[in-house]
Symmetry: C2
Subunit: 182 residues, 2 copies
DNA sequence: TGAAATATGTCAATGAAACTGACGTAATTG
DNA sequence: CAATTACGTCAGTTTCATTGACATATTTCA
């Protein structure tokens, strides 16, 4: 087994050669270098699902994030939202304005502090947020249902990747260290 | 215990009340709704580390992604890189040009197919890529070292969040469903 | 060999999503 | 009543992506 011999020695997790949903895990993929990439690929596909829905509404990821957190934490203030998203109020305002004008989010003046604008989803907004959560939940539950997903972070992240892409990702990652077998 | 009663019933993983590095896991946080947010926060902090370093060089995340994959898979072709990153060649070209002109990445004409440009990191490029990998690896190994991290995806993701922020995230997530306690 | 496909590069315009800096207004705090 | 806080907004800039069109070199295949 020449490839496993070429692997870096640092392997913090003693996991076995586990297959996820037909795609070979291809030996112990447990360096944190691997996790860096798996996180990239998993997140790429994770946000890809909602992106397709949002495009139909002329919205982007920025709208999604706002809608999600307002839906989940009704009564959120602007300041709290800014702290969560880590963007400037100018950036937030652009997308928030869209969502308010198009009837997905509503504002109420704060009761204890009338300077605050408490944010809530309208019915329409909650429905859209629900659709977006649904596709992400579907990917997550499918990933968690994979026999090995709970066993280790790497298997979980691998299971989060679009099934059709998993083989390509595994193939790529099997190439590390070798001189470019392009 | 009113809060746990307010939780959605779907809880695919039977995990216990586990504490990660001092931050309370605050009961079983195992709905996939929670995972959606944990993934957001974990990824936010995960890319935040390299961002600070990149800023010193006048580079952004796009540069990071290119540098990372070229460093890790020397001899990568343009087409392969495009497939990994899922961007257009025009987008890639902008950042790739920066990295080549400033001596972080070098091109070689392919040997078997002379149309291909095989990408390699220079010493400087590999050094920078190493610095960036280091900070991300540090976060990952620290997260994996947490006693509960391997036990479940949610604990792993929680452990990936900046320690100083974990309490705030837990506090926020404990608020779900309640009418805005802003 | 010669036409078609492939791999890459590039010009131009556009859009999305962030940024800085400055300023204004309303409400609360002390 | 002055200072602070919460929010909104105007103006300009940057990063990172897009689409569309076109050029060039190389390989493949009929």
């Amino acid at each position: 087994m020449p490839r496993s011999a070429a692997r870096p020695a640092a392997c913090p997790l003693p996991i076995a050669d586990i297959r996820v949903d037909g795609a070979a895990a291809d030996g112990p993929t447990c360096s944190s270098d691997d996790l860096i990439e798996l996180l990239f690929f998993a997140y790429r596909d994770f946000v890809g699902d909602p992106d397709r829905i949002l495009a139909e509404y002329g919205f982007g990821r920025a709208h999604h994030r706002v809608l999600h957190f307002v839906d989940r934490y009704p009564g959120l203030t602007i300041a709290e939202l800014l702290d969560i998203l880590r963007i400037t109020k100018q950036s937030l305002n652009r997308v928030l304005k869209d969502l308010i004008e198009q009837g997905y989010i509503a504002q109420k003046t704060g009761t204890s502090d009338r300077r605050q604008r408490l944010l809530y989803c309208t019915q329409t907004g909650a429905a859209l947020a629900g659709d977006l959560t649904r596709v992400q939940t579907r990917r997550l539950t499918r990933a968690l249902a994979a026999p090995a997903a709970a066993a280790s972070p790497e298997n979980f992240l691998l299971a989060m990747i679009e099934p059709d892409e998993r083989a390509a990702v595994s193939r790529l990652m099997a190439r590390r260290g070798q001189q470019g077998t392009a």
